[in-house]
């Protein structure tokens, strides 16, 4: 668009100079528009559609009248082309908007539970240009009515009469068909200060500025939401594979349309060397005058301002022959276009800049690379974000051109100006306002359309991601379940175990059931949390023996080591450190576990403790001694293929280990039961594990040879693991991890010290709720009550039942001989005090609590540590607290 002195003034003049009378007039316009916009909010889609359709007809009927007015007033452009513009502005715009929903629900996304609804903007202040003075008004009126907005128009001062007449035509029709009075209004001429005043008016909700850079800048500087769309400098690449006949005609059509006043029209055509001469010949044959060097210089000096490098207003929208006469060029009377060869781009080559008249620069490019670079130069010489054109049949070059050009519209093998207007040569949205994106200082790269006149509200209904319950393919349980090892064919099996289990003959039991044809190697690893180094040595063994089966025989440490060995054996490129990256939601985690495998091995996990449930879990915890940290891996691909839960391997477990692992099992079940990820699938497992643990753990502890108790506890550990594998654990584990690591206390024992306090903590009304789309309301205390019912603990109210559950847990801990306070472990208060801040931070960073029903605050974690330090009497404390509350 034209950037001249008037343009700058019309938007940047200070408003302070307005008289009181003038301000009253402007306030009246805004008030009237505001009322109209308010009234408009009551209209339905059918109401607005009834108004929009008849508005199109006067636009079409008056197209010639308005075009003539525009020519007479502005002296720019071509009357016949302005008629076409007016018709496009009405008919094509209507055709685009007619079926669009712009009131109420406008779009629905049932699969995403989302609905979009329309909210009108209110009062729009709209600047219209001199170059398209009537078509822009006609174009803007239709979406305004369609979206139930009121518009105050501010035409370019040199196009006021024709623009205001266009407003009048549309307004009268709209009101006649039911639009609110005052829905459109138009400022009179001499609007310099008026614009500044209205742009800052509190009741003007949006500025829609179609014009030069001054108008756009003022719009964006007003502090109001603005659609400011303005100047361009369209680069065209005429590539050697293009259809020259079509290209030459298209470029002439576009550049001469309304004497080149559309800002998307071609400015510089970069032509491949191979077709340069032929292209100029074609242009010449079609009525273009090709300037020689001297003529180009003359043209340059006359039509461009040598000081600013901007086009001279006297040339804008003039015919080629008139410009030639102005310059003093001898051209044929039927000359349509002046073509000026240039040798560079930028201020030193003024004709490479925007020229809204039928003068076209051409550049001869020696290679594709050079052509693309020159196009980029033109793009950056005032055309960023606007429009670019390419004529080519080479899709790869079209792609490269599209990548390097910063343009909201890239028009392929068609006229730039009419192409950019949309709906004629392509399927772009019809418009008379071209968004130029941030390159052009605009907020959009779109062809401005009806949807830019709407506030779109998104109604987001609650959704639940799908949940899962994933478990190993096969679980064999009860006494002698190990016999099932024999059913799995293998040519090379590695048994991973620890020294003690090998020594007491457990490995031999397993070997008994492996086919004699299978080569078996026993890999004994240290009985401790596995180190990465140990895992990597195991992978070497797997590779050496080309293993197709791994049998992990042991507790959590052995099974976790075997899981990681399998991972690295099958996918050597897997980066353990990267795979251990933290995540909030397994489905949305950044890191993906490898799916491509170069080896395949079946993992059979045989658990020799009744606690971790590692034989069915998708977790593995390793120690990275080199860096002094733990590496926790979590992914369904880590779950063993086969789990064997055979109690014969736990019959000889010492009492302390029975208690520690048993309480670990119970904690898994209790935490999974109230987890935010709990589901009916995990609940059934958690509840059953709780029932089994309360019943059989004391028996297994007191009578280690009680086969039924051992069997049930072994099953309970596996069943609890099925629950927490899918529902995760909670705060208890976060506290136990931090405390256990700091003071070297066994995991089960650390869990036991925290457990009654965490039950009471989760049963209380949270200080901070944990966001969870999976749960309806806070249910942790109610689920504890269900657990109490299941255990037959009695109680009439939820509070009583929770208290009974805590009391039963405390009784169980006593039965199992657990220390009931951290103090009992011999840790001094001073030492503990020093440790609490660090443990609190570690516990807060622990991912275990992410599924806890209550979101722990740092001070709450510290408080729980202190409660565990003091220990005992939680149930009584809960009762007292409940009495107080009552």
């Amino acid at each position: 668009m034209i950037a001249n002195g008037t343009e700058q003034q019309r938007t940047q003049a200070p408003a302070e100079s307005l008289s009181a009378e003038r301000i009253a007039h402007l306030e009246g316009l805004v008030s009237q528009a505001k009322t109209a916009a308010a009234v408009f909010t009551q209209f339905t889609q059918e109401d607005v559609d009834r108004i929009v359709k008849p508005m199109v007809l006067p636009g079409l009927e008056q197209a010639q009248y308005l075009a003539r007015l525009a020519i007479e007033e502005t002296r720019l452009g071509v009357m016949e082309d302005k008629v076409i513009k007016n018709m496009v502005a009405t008919e094509f715009t209507y055709n685009y908007v007619k079926d669009k929903r712009t009131v109420g629900v406008i779009r629905e996304f049932p699969d995403r539970n989302l609905v979009e609804m329309a909210e009108p903007i209110g009062v729009i202040f709209s600047l219209t240009p001199i170059t398209n003075p009537t078509s822009t008004v006609l174009f803007k009126c239709i979406p305004a009515i369609k979206t139930r907005n009121a518009v105050i128009f501010s035409p370019h001062p040199r196009a006021w009469r024709c623009s205001s007449e266009a407003v009048r035509v549309m307004y009268e029709t709209a009101v006649r068909h039911g639009a609110p009075e005052g829905v459109f209004s138009c400022l009179e001429s001499h609007t310099l200060e008026d614009n500044a005043y209205l742009m800052r008016h509190k009741d003007v909700r949006l500025i829609d500025a179609t014009g030069g850079p001054g108008a756009v800048k003022a719009a964006y500087s007003s502090g109001k939401p603005a659609l400011g769309v303005g100047a361009g400098n369209t680069a065209v690449y005429l590539e050697k594979t293009a259809d020259l006949n079509t290209a030459a005609v298209d470029i002439i059509i576009s550049k001469t349309f309304d004497n080149g006043t559309i800002c998307a029209s071609e400015q510089t055509v970069v032509i491949d060397d191979e077709i340069y001469a032929l292209a100029l010949k074609k242009f010449s044959e079609l009525g273009a005058h090709i300037c020689n060097e001297k003529e180009t210089k003359l043209l340059e000096r006359t039509v461009m301002d040598p000081q600013t490098g901007v086009m001279q207003p006297l040339a804008v929208g003039q015919k080629a022959t008139d410009i030639a006469r102005l310059v003093g060029l001898p051209v044929e009377p039927n000359t349509k276009l002046l073509i000026a060869p240039i040798h560079g781009v930028g201020r030193e080559h003024p004709l490479s800049l925007e020229k809204l008249f039928p003068v076209l620069a051409v550049y001869r490019a020696r290679s594709t690379e050079e052509a693309l670079k020159v196009c980029v130069d033109v793009n950056h010489a005032g055309g960023l974000g606007h429009t670019a054109v390419i004529f080519s049949r080479n899709d790869e070059i079209v792609r490269r051109f599209s990548e390097v050009m910063n343009a909201g519209r890239i028009i392929v093998s068609s006229p730039g100006s009419i192409g950019a207007l949309g709906a004629v040569y392509n399927n772009l949205v019809p418009t008379f306002s071209f968004g130029c994106g941030t390159g052009g200082g605009n907020s959009t790269t779109d062809n401005v359309n009806v949807f830019h006149y709407l506030n779109i509200k998104r109604v987001a209904r609650r959704t639940q991601n799908h949940m899962w319950f994933r478990v190993p393919n096969q679980i064999y349980f009860n006494m002698n379940a190990v016999e099932n090892v024999g059913q799995f064919p293998s040519s090379s099996t590695i048994i991973v175990t620890n020294p003690a289990l090998e020594q007491i003959g457990h490995v031999d039991i397993v070997r008994r059931y492996i086919s004699p044809q299978t080569y078996v190697h026993v890999l004994v690893i240290p009985d401790a949390e596995p180190e990465i180094k140990v895992v990597m040595q195991g992978v070497e063994t797997l590779n050496f023996y080309k293993a197709d089966q791994i049998i992990a025989l042991g507790g959590g440490s052995v099974i976790d080591a075997a899981k990681t060995m399998k991972l690295k054996y099958e996918s050597p490129a897997a980066d353990l450190e990267e795979l251990a990256a933290p995540f909030l939601d397994l489905r949305k985690r950044v890191v993906q576990y490898p799916t491509e495998k170069i080896n395949r091995a079946r993992l059979i996990a045989i658990s020799t403790t009744s606690g971790t449930g590692s034989e069915v879990t998708p977790f593995a915890v390793l120690t990275d001694k080199e860096h002094g940290r733990k590496v926790t891996l979590a992914d369904c691909s880590l779950s063993p293929d086969v789990a064997i839960v055979d109690p014969q391997f736990v019959m000889s477990m010492p009492k302390v280990l029975t208690a520690d692992t048993g309480i670990d099992c119970l904690t898994h079940a209790l935490e999974a039961g109230v987890s935010n990820y709990a589901s009916s699938y995990t609940d059934s497992n958690a509840m059953q594990a709780i029932r089994l643990a309360f019943k059989y753990l004391p028996i297994a502890y007191e009578n280690p040879r009680d086969e039924e108790a051992r069997c049930m506890m072994h099953n309970a550990a596996c069943i609890a693991a099925l629950a927490f594998s899918n529902a995760s654990v909670g705060v208890n584990h976060a506290l136990a991890h931090a405390f256990g690591a700091r003071f070297g206390v066994a995991h089960g024992r650390a869990n036991a010290l925290m457990l009654p306090h965490v039950l009471a903590y989760n049963a209380a009304v949270p200080t901070k709720f944990m966001p969870s789309p999976y749960q309806q309301g806070y249910v942790a205390h109610k689920k504890y009550a269900v657990m109490a019912d299941l255990l037959g603990l009695g109680g009439h109210t939820v509070e009583e039942k929770v208290k009974n559950l805590i009391a039963a847990t405390e009784k169980l801990l006593d039965q199992l001989g657990f220390p009931r306070s951290i103090a009992e472990l011999g840790i001094s208060k001073e030492e503990f005090e020093r440790a609490v801040p660090g443990m609190t931070k570690i516990a807060f960073d622990d991912p275990s609590w992410r599924s806890n029903p209550r979101m722990p605050l740092m001070n709450e974690l510290a408080e729980l540590f202190w409660k565990a330090y003091q220990g005992r009497g939680v149930a009584k404390a809960v009762s007292a607290s409940q009495r107080e509350t009552a």
Binding site: A38, Q42, E181
Partner: protein, 91 residues
């Protein structure tokens, strides 16, 4: 005391004249004028002007205007035109 006998019920098609009539009936000062809007589903600019004038007169006379049964759509129009704060509403 300003009096409008009983409730003044407004018909959607004649908000302006009805309010004009109400202004004339508002013969005293102070008190409350209850206007039943439950039959008004839409306001046009003329009706809005009439309401603005009506509440202006009421303000001058110290009369509190209570609009009864205003639909949400009409209420939103009053909010957008900043007239809502000048009325009281009852259901």
């Amino acid at each position: 005391m300003a009096m409008i006998p009983g409730w003044l019920s407004i018909d959607e098609r004649c908000v302006g004249p009805a309010l004009q009539d109400a202004v004339e009936k508002m013969d005293g000062t102070g008190g409350e004028a209850v206007v039943n809007f439950s039959a008004v589903w839409r306001l046009d600019p003329t009706a809005l002007r009439a309401m603005e004038e009506f509440v202006g007169v009421a303000d001058e006379k110290g009369v509190k205007v209570v609009l009864r049964g205003v639909s949400v759509d009409v209420y939103k129009v009053l909010k957008l035109t900043k007239l809502a704060s000048r009325f009281s509403f009852s259901s």
